[in-house]
C-alpha cells in the first residue's frame, strides 16, 4: 500500500492491461476521460462519511477537552451536526463547490487559502519526482533490455528488487544519513538555504527564483530539491523499469516482431518503431497506477525534509484532529490523483487505437 501497489502486481503487461485498461474499453471516447469527475463526488462522500460516521464521538474530536456541555451544544448547532448526515454532506459539498472548505479548528483560518498556499510546493516536488522517476525507470528498462542475457541485466534487476522493497520514506532517511550527513553532499532541511528569500509570485519556488533572476536562490532550491525528488523517484522508477523491461521482452516474442525481421528491418528500427510503441501501453498504465503512490509519498517526504507543502499541513492537522482541514486535504489529494490519472487515460487513448475505435 504505502510502498507501491506495483510490488504485488506481477510484472506481466497482459495482466496489467487486463486489470487497468479493461474498464476503459467499454466506454465511449469522451466519457473515458471525463468519468473521473463524478468519481470525485463519490470520493468526497467517502471521506466525509468515514470521518463523521466512524468515530463514536465526533464532538470529542472537534472540541478541546475543557469544553462544557453548553459549548458542545453550541458547536453542534453551529456546525449543523444535529442535522442528518446526508444533509450535512450536502451543505459541505455546496460550500466546497464554491471553494469554501470550512475553517480550521486550530487557528480558525479558512482552509482553502491555506491549502492553496501550500499546494505549489507539493506540486513542484511531485513534478520533479515524476520526471526523475520516469528518466530512471525508462532508462533502466531500456538498459536492461539492451543488455538482456548479460550480467548488466541481472545487475539492474537486483538493484530494482532492492529499490522496490524499500519504501520511499526510508529511502529519504537513508539518503539523509548517507548523502546528507555522512557525505555532506546535499542539504536536507527546508527548501532554501537559511538567509535566502525569494518573492512569492506563482508559489512555485523554482519558477519564482527564475522570475526574480536570483540564480543563487535557484541553485540553492535545486540542491534542496535533489534529495527529496530522488527519494520520491525511487517510488516509481523500479516498477516502471520492471514493466518496461518485461513488456519489451514480451513484445519481442510477438509475431509482428518476427514478421518485421523477416522483412529485413534493422534491429534498431524494430525496437524503436515496433516494440517500444507496444511496450509503452502497459508502461503508461503502470504510471497511472503508481500516481497515487507518488502523490502519497510526498506526505512523508515533506515532513522529513521540512518542506511546507500540503503533506506537512496534513501531518499537523492529523496530530490536532483538525477535521475540516483533514477533509479538505484528503479531497485535494484525491483530486491530484484523479488529475494525473486523467492525463494517463488520455495518453493511453492516443497510443492505443483499440481504445479509440469500437
Amino acid at each position: 500500500m504505502l510502498t507501491s501497489p506495483a510490488l504485488s502486481t506481477p510484472a506481466s503487461p497482459g495482466r496489467l492491461n487486463a486489470i487497468a485498461g479493461r474498464s476503459l474499453a467499454a466506454m465511449p471516447t469522451v466519457w473515458r476521460i471525463l468519468w473521473r469527475v463524478p468519481m470525485l463526488l463519490a470520493l468526497a462522500a467517502l471521506v466525509f462519511f468515514v470521518l463523521r460516521v466512524l468515530p463514536a464521538d465526533p464532538m470529542g474530536m472537534l472540541l478541546p477537552p475543557s469544553a462544557t456541555p453548553a459549548d458542545v451544544k453550541a458547536l453542534t448547532e453551529a456546525l449543523g451536526l444535529d442535522k442528518p448526515i446526508p444533509v450535512q454532506f450536502g451543505i459541505w459539498l455546496g460550500n466546497a463547490l464554491h471553494g469554501d472548505l470550512g475553517r480550521t479548528l486550530t487557528s480558525g483560518l479558512q482552509v482553502t487559502p491555506l491549502i492553496l498556499k501550500a499546494l505549489p510546493t507539493t506540486l513542484q516536488l511531485i513534478a520533479c519526482g515524476l520526471l526523475l522517476g520516469m528518466v530512471f525507470g525508462i532508462g533502466g528498462g531500456l538498459l536492461a533490455f539492451r543488455y538482456r542475457g548479460t550480467r548488466i541485466e541481472r545487475a539492474v534487476e537486483v538493484v530494482n528488487s532492492i529499490s522496490i522493497s524499500v519504501p520511499e520514506f526510508l529511502w529519504a532517511i537513508l539518503l539523509i544519513l548517507g548523502v546528507g550527513i555522512g557525505l555532506k553532499l546535499l542539504p536536507f532541511l527546508g527548501q532554501l538555504d537559511a538567509g535566502l528569500t525569494v518573492p512569492n509570485v506563482t508559489g512555485f519556488l523554482l519558477v519564482d527564483a527564475v522570475v526574480a533572476g536570483d540564480f543563487a536562490a535557484l541553485w540553492s532550491a535545486l540542491k534542496h530539491l535533489a534529495l527529496p525528488a530522488f527519494a520520491l523517484s525511487l517510488g516509481i522508477a523500479p516498477p516502471l523499469m520492471r514493466i518496461l523491461h518485461s513488456s519489451l521482452l514480451d513484445a519481442y516474442t510477438e509475431d509482428y516482431v518476427s514478421a518485421a525481421r523477416l522483412r529485413g528491418l534493422s534491429e534498431n528500427r524494430i525496437l524503436v518503431r515496433h516494440a517500444l510503441k507496444n511496450a509503452a501501453l502497459p508502461t503508461v498504465s503502470m504510471l497511472g497506477i503508481q500516481a497515487s503512490t507518488v502523490i502519497g509519498g510526498t506526505l512523508l517526504i515533506e515532513t522529513i525534509f521540512g518542506f511546507p507543502g500540503i503533506g506537512s499541513l496534513m501531518v499537523n492537522a492529523i496530530g490536532a484532529h483538525d477535521l475540516p482541514m483533514i477533509q479538505g486535504l484528503a479531497l485535494t489529494y484525491a483530486v491530484a490523483v484523479q488529475a494525473v490519472n486523467m492525463v494517463t487515460d488520455a495518453v493511453l487513448l492516443l497510443l492505443n487505437p483499440r481504445l479509440r475505435t469500437p
Binding site: 504505502l2 495482466r15 486489470i19 526510508l170 544519513l177 502519497g296
Partner: protein, 293 residues
Amino acid sequence: MSSLALSAPAPLRRVLGEPRVVIGVGLLLLLIALAVFAPWLAPHAPNEQDLLNTVLPPAWAPGGDRSFPLGTDALGQCILSRLIYSTRVTVIIALTAPLGAALLGCTLALIAGYRGGRIEWAILRMVDLWMSFPAIVLALVLMVALSPGLLNVIVAIILVDWTRFCRVIRADVVVLRRKDYVAAARITGASHWQVVMKDIVPGILPTLISLISLEMGISVVAESILSFVGMSVEPNVPTWGVMIADGLKSVFSSPWGLIAPVGCTVLTVLATTCLGDGLRRTTDPRLFNRSGT
C-alpha cells in the same frame, strides 16, 4: 479422495528448494523467535527509562556502556531492547493484516469475477474509488476516525489494502472462468460453489500466496509510516516506526537510534519480497505446463 485429490504436480520440494523462499522463510522465523522470546533476549524492559544515560552511543563506540549494546535514546531507553520488543508488533501485524486483506479482497474478487454483470461493475467501481486515494492518506484518515491501537491498525491496513488483492485476483478469476474446464465442470454436475472451490480457487492460489507474502512486508511498512506520524499503536508500545521517528529527532547526536530500526525494517521487507518472488517463480502456472513428460 487420495489419488483423486487435486494435488498439484509441482512438489513442495521444489518450492522449498528455491533459495529465495528459504531466505525469506528463515528471516521470518527468526523474527517470530525474537518476538516470542523477547523477555529472555532483551537486556532491559522496553520502556525502562534511565534518565542518567540518555542518548548513549553503542557499546563499541567511545562513551558506550556494555549494558546498553546499541546505546539509548533520548529518554534513556535501551535501543536493542526496544528493537527486540518491537518485533512483537511487527509479527502480529505481518501475520494478521495480510490474511485479513486477502480474505476480504479474495471474496469480493471471486464474487466479482465469477458472477460478472452488475455486481462485477459495482465492485470494480468501489475498488477504483478506494484506490483513488493515496494509500497513506486513506490510512491516516481511517486512523483518525478509529483512534490509535493495535487492532485498529490491523483493521486500517485491511481496509486499505484489500483493493490490491481484489484487482489482481479478479483478473485471474476472469481468465479462469473463461476456460473450458470450468464449463466442463458445470456440465458434469458441479454446483457453482464446487466449481469455485475446486477449479477456480486452486488456480488463483499461486498468485494469492505470493501476494500475501508481499503484503506482509507492505503492512510492516504501513505500520511504521503510521507510527512515524504518531497515529499507530498505543503510546507505550514500541515499534520500529516510533523508533525511527524518535531517532530522526536525535540523528545528529546518536545516529544508531535511527540506523537500527531502519535496518530492521529494510531487512524485513527484503525478506518478504524475496519470499514472494520465490513463491511466484516456483508456482507460476506457465512453468507448470512444461513440467512432466
